[in-house]
Symmetry: C2
Amino acid sequence: MNPSLPIACTEHDHNLCVHQALQAADALCSRQGVRLTALRRRVLELIWQSHKPLGAYDILAVLSQEDGRRAAPPTVYRALDFLLGNHLIHRLASLNAFIGCTHPAHAHQSHFLICRVCHTAIEVDSPAISATIHAAAEAVDFRIEGEMVEVVGLCAQCQAATK
Amino acid sequence: MNPSLPIACTEHDHNLCVHQALQAADALCSRQGVRLTALRRRVLELIWQSHKPLGAYDILAVLSQEDGRRAAPPTVYRALDFLLGNHLIHRLASLNAFIGCTHPAHAHQSHFLICRVCHTAIEVDSPAISATIHAAAEAVDFRIEGEMVEVVGLCAQCQAATK
DNA sequence: AAGGATGAGTTATATAATAACGTCCCTCAC
DNA sequence: GTGAGGGACGTTATTATATAACTCATCCTT
């Protein structure tokens, strides 16, 4: 296992990975004084389990199957809104999909490399990207509130596979 | 008029602005050997006239009104696909909207500053942003095919207005 | 126990995009 | 000229994504 690669690109114990994310969410929510209810926790778990961006209606389908004829869109969207608001997940606008945030503890921007083939989304934490974006914004006196960077291309595995 | 500000932020002769965009599109299409049909040209004109991101169904509404009971979604989406494919417009994923490309002659990335209040979208041409994105991608061996940067915030005018 | 706030169920609808098929019309080889 | 092929557009239907509006339940506080 190459430690220089992001987690999304490596073999790992995925159950552990999900477990840790949920524990971190528990801790973060209790610290913030907000409620990570069973439904919200379950939605977050589903998102983490996939490790690839998951659509709202994918989540809806799982919940409906589990509970036998339940779950309408607002149920899922409300949970997603909560998770987004507490920085536990990111929304990928180019895919209309959601993915777990890999470092929810500190507020940060949404920068992703998205593989066109396998749909893996690699969250990158690059202060340099933010710095250049801020410089460009400053040049036209634009006050940044949120950065969205979604880069589409081929991940290392899929490059190798198509050779 | 401050020449350092992008066109979207300044007073200007908007009719001239639209006219020039359409002429550039004519030239570009004839050079490429593709057909800028009346419909495609009209859609491009509507997008340029707004100078702010315009939704597909906004375009559809105008076309339907003009032609008296015509225009279904595919009509508009096909025109948009053509314009996107020939780099005459950009799609803003975070708004589900489209905006004229300010420099269609050379292929380039899609980098925008989008005002949360007035919805003006400023296209920025910053090689520095691309450079940092490429550096981040290289670090994980990701091959970039397209960059999408959409930064939400407050433009200069709206900052001043809310003071 | 009353009352308020938050979370979630339910129904309906809005908004965005595409599938599938048909028709018209242009052009070009013959 | 003519008809074969292809591109552009019309048309109908459907899928996909997201929200509005209202109700009920639960839980916490007092």
